[in-house]
Symmetry: C2
Subunit: 103 residues, 2 copies
């Protein structure tokens, strides 16, 4: 599996506008096992996104999907930057569907 | 909902021992919606844990469960420390079960 943990910073006061785009555009994309959007009680303009994909190729391919490209275009004006992003290798736990293949 | 994103550091060479305890002890705890364990390709002794609970009280209560206490006791000798832990407020996304109540 392939994972991402990222912290995005919205332009001041625009966090909810970014969240709205993320929520509306989050759907069952091929290879996506989990995509969780969260606010940060200690940082009013921050958005945390934690993702699990079957493999890195699925994540990469998703960025080319028309609906994802459209969401990126809609959200971009409200995003100040990305402060933190790390790649992980999820190995298990609770709450993931059984992956179709190892990543 | 209540979320945690944390990075744990295993004692040198003991990451897999910690992972084994985490995997064996991860089960359907009351209020737990997601608990994902991941390694870090850039940091051989690191373990990332991302959690989603229905609310903070459920998370707190889980720490008192006998099976969780036992897992903590088993893992502790192999853990060097906790480098990073933030609390989040997950608001949605993909791959979470419908929560029974808002957190």
């Amino acid at each position: 599996m392939y994972g991402l943990i990222g912290k995005m910073r919205a332009a001041r006061g625009q966090r909810d506008a970014v969240m709205d785009v993320l929520r509306e555009s989050t759907a069952a994309l091929p290879g996506c096992l989990s995509y969780i959007i969260a606010t940060d009680p200690a940082d009013a303009d921050a958005i945390w996104v934690t993702e699990v994909w079957t493999d890195q190729a699925s994540h990469k391919a998703s960025l080319q999907l028309p609906e994802v490209q459209a969401a990126i275009a809609r959200a971009r004006p409200f995003i100040a930057g990305f402060e933190f992003q790390i790649e992980t290798q999820p190995v298990g736990g609770f709450g993931l569907p059984a992956p179709e293949k190892a990543g």
